[in-house]
């Protein structure tokens, strides 16, 4: 009798503990969206603000402040592209939409697709810096040897902390994951789809 009681208690406990295990496994995955939300709220990792064009139009320009915005570009290892800003820095007023341009060239002999990832420093400024138009919103295909000039339209929220007078926007170009995948398939002898 005692043994049966213990066995059913064991079974119940094991099911509960396996439930906790499954829960914690899902929690590991839940950390991914949580982390992204956390980054957006705090500007951690230079995640930029998300004002739309319509919201940006409503902001009042603050002509009393001047913010220097610097541009930094980089290309990740393995992507044979050139990528540079057409202006290294601009001085802007908060609340004014500004247009800047970048130039990219595919030096490879094959057509490739790239994806630019932005980041803003310092972190405290990141969420007050919004891009209303950016080539980084979509993947960028470039034919072999092609050069393209692409625009970025950005606005700085006048609520930007008082101690910030200089903001750096940096882009890194990566090979888009899909093309990387296809290439390794070709290398691995898999059928080219």
């Amino acid at each position: 009798m005692q043994r049966n009681v213990t066995q059913s208690a064991n079974r119940r406990l094991v099911v509960q503990l396996l439930g906790v295990t499954a829960l914690m496994f899902s929690f590991g995955y839940a950390l991914v969206p949580l982390y992204n939300v956390f980054c957006e709220v705090t500007g951690l990792n230079g995640k930029t603000g998300q004002l739309t064009q319509a919201q940006a139009d409503k902001l009042l320009p603050d002509k009393t402040r001047e913010i220097t915005v610097e541009f930094v570009t980089g290309v990740n290892a393995g992507l044979p592209w050139d990528f540079r800003p057409l202006q290294t820095k601009v001085v802007v007023n908060p609340g004014v939409v500004t247009l800047v341009s970048f130039e990219m060239t595919n030096r490879a002999t094959i057509n490739m697709i790239g994806q630019a990832i932005p980041s803003v420093a310092p972190q405290t400024a990141a969420r007050y810096f919004s891009k209303t138009e950016c080539f980084c919103f979509t993947q960028q295909p470039l034919a072999a040897g092609e050069t393209k000039t692409v625009p970025v339209r950005f606005i700085i929220d006048p609520k930007l902390p008082k101690d910030v007078d200089r903001v750096t926007l940096s882009y890194t170009f990566f090979e888009a994951p899909q093309t990387a995948q296809q290439e390794s398939n070709i290398a691995g002898g898999a059928p080219n789809t």
């Binding site: 009798m1 005692q2 043994r3 213990t6 208690a9 064991n10 406990l13 094991v14 503990l17 396996l18 906790v20 295990t21 499954a22 829960l23 914690m24 496994f25 899902s26 929690f27 590991g28 995955y29 950390l31 991914v32 982390y35 980054c39 705090t42 500007g43 951690l44 990792n45 990740n76 994806q115 990832i117 972190q123 405290t124 890194t172 990566f174 090979e175 888009a176 994951p177 899909q178 990387a180 995948q181």
Partner: protein, 533 residues
């Protein structure tokens, strides 16, 4: 019912499997405990040989013996083997042997699961150690498996991931078993606040395992799908973030360090009262301290990554939470010292190792405090200071407690007293050499020597040579440990049931060696009370 149980046992005994089948099919907690302990001892020596290769290469500046890739795979594999192969299975082995004996249970709650959780391990480590012979070599990106570096691992990569999955499954199964055993199998009258501290610390460890290992399983699964299935959890090009891996990993990783050390607290709390011939000072505060350490371990993970870039508020939070852990840990150290205070102490080998554990673990705790302070961590981060810190808490902490526990319960396991002279020689050689080995690494780290490098600037040469000499002596001393165990298993002075004059607890009420089946009938209340004192 009890008659039926006895009948069942005799029946079982009659068909007792022999040879290798016995070990493959056994569901006896003592057999499984022995297998865990032997397995972890083998892994201790495999991981130790890797450490010897590391210290050999670092004996002098320049590259003498191994190439940098192999050196890096040695540091990576040394950590994985020692953490998942030596220390964790050793604790599960201790738990298998001792938890049922300590709580007056006939066996673990889930004996078949118990067999299974052990036998996963040889497969896990075949996968892991097999990578040493693969083209491209074993994983070399560090045991922390940070992307994108770890994604450059060659053919060994999926083997690494699945080995981690297997080790995790084994630990979780073991943890579930221990929780079920303690919750459902305690002898009547064995209330929670009468449990020996080793059982308490293991219960808390088991909950840490269940809460943290699945997170690691998730993290490595994300690595796997990033590498082979085109997901972008940690791939910036696809919108992922490599820093996120560090957060997920250390959410597992910090509880993991307490998984490695909490049972050691339990061992020290068993040995010190025995040889001080006094009851443990502050039993309930020990329980609450262990529980608060476990809770805090979940909210301090980012102190491993102060330098990746974090808001100031984050750095302050993680610094304060980290430093707060010193409070419950201090309570424990205080209680051990207070237990010894005015006790009639004798210094048999287990006690020597236990006292060395308290002293040397505390040194590791203090360097941990230093590392927990954000502004100075920027200097210490990724230097040999970190290496010195975690070897003080793991080698002279966890491993010393394992050795102390082995000498302490060896007479109960084998029925013979170990060779005391040999034990003391092992102690003194180990304790002197381990300090020669790790103490200079503090200096190296403060002077700026980075960890995980096969070659270094010449100003680090002297202390590296000293450290290596200490390493070789420490490594060789452990052969004395094995010799002592083998000698004790083969024969020696007969051990009494109580073994130690000051020993209290249910495991000392059964004969030595402990019979194959114990507590088929639960012990009566007076035995439990007498055992607790």
């Amino acid at each position: 019912m009890s008659q039926a149980a006895t009948h069942h046992d005799t029946h079982h005994e009659a068909h007792h499997a022999t040879g290798i089948t016995r070990w493959l099919t056994t569901t006896n907690h003592k057999d499984i405990g022995t297998m865990y302990l032997v397995f972890s001892l083998i892994m201790f020596f495999i991981g130790g040989s890797m450490a010897m290769i590391i210290r050999l290469e670092l004996f002098q500046p320049g590259l003498q013996f191994v190439n940098p890739q192999f050196f890096n795979s040695m540091t990576t594999m040394h950590a994985l083997v020692m953490i998942f192969g030596a220390v964790m299975p050793a604790w599960t082995g201790f738990a298998n042997w001792l938890v049922p004996l300590m709580i007056g249970a006939p066996d673990m709650a889930l004996p078949r699961l118990n067999n299974w959780s052990f036998w996963i391990l040889p497969f896990a480590f075949t996968l892991l150690l097999g990578t040493l012979f693969m083209p491209g070599g074993a994983p070399a990106g560090g045991w922390t498996m940070y992307p994108p570096l770890v994604l450059q691992t060659g053919e060994a990569f999926p083997f690494l991931i699945f080995a981690v999955h297997f080790m995790g499954a084994s630990s979780i199964a073991g943890a579930i078993n221990i929780i079920a055993t303690v919750f459902n199998m305690r002898a009547p009258g064995m209330t929670l606040m009468k449990l020996p501290l080793f059982v308490w610390t293991w219960i808390i460890t088991a909950f840490l395992l269940i809460a943290s290992i699945p997170v690691l399983a998730g993290a490595v699964t994300m690595l796997l799908t990033d590498k082979f299935f085109g997901t972008s959890f940690f791939n910036a090009a696809g919108g992922g973030d490599p820093v996120m891996f560090q957060h997920i990993f250390w959410f597992f990783g910090h509880p993991e360090v307490y998984i490695l050390i909490l049972p050691a607290f339990g061992i020290a709390s068993a040995i010190i009262p025995t040889f001080a011939r006094k009851p443990l000072f502050g039993y309930s505060s020990m329980v609450y301290a262990a529980a608060s350490i476990a809770f805090l371990s979940f909210i301090v993970w980012a102190h491993h990554m102060f330098t990746v870039g974090m808001p100031l508020a984050g750095e302050l939070f993680f610094m304060y939470a980290t430093v707060l852990i010193a409070v419950p840990t201090g309570v424990k150290v205080f209680n051990w010292v207070a237990t010894m205070w005015q006790g009639s102490m004798t210094f048999e080998t287990p006690m020597l190792f236990a006292i060395a554990f308290v002293v040397l673990f505390t040194i590791g705790g203090f360097s941990g405090l230093m590392l927990g302070v954000t502004p100075v961590d920027f200097q210490y981060h990724d230097t040999y200071f970190v290496v010195a810190h975690f070897h003080y808490v793991l080698v002279t902490g966890a491993v010393y407690a394992l050795i102390a526990g082995t000498y302490f319960w060896l007479p109960k396991w084998t029925g013979h007293m170990y060779d005391e002279k040999l034990g003391k020689l092992h102690f003194w050689l180990s304790t002197i050499s381990v300090n020669v080995l790790f103490f200079p690494q503090h200096f190296l780290g403060l002077a700026g020597m980075p960890r995980r490098i096969p070659d270094y600037a010449v100003q680090f040469a002297d202390w590296n040579m000293v450290s290596s000499i200490g390493g070789f002596v420490f490594g060789a001393s452990q052969l004395l440990f094995v010799w002592g165990i083998v000698k004790c298993a083969r024969g020696g002075e007969k051990a009494t049931a109580q073994v130690w004059e000051g020993a209290h607890g249910l495991e000392w009420t059964v004969p030595s060696p402990a019979p194959y089946h114990t507590f088929s009938e639960p012990p009566d209340a007076s035995t439990i009370e007498g055992g607790m004192r």
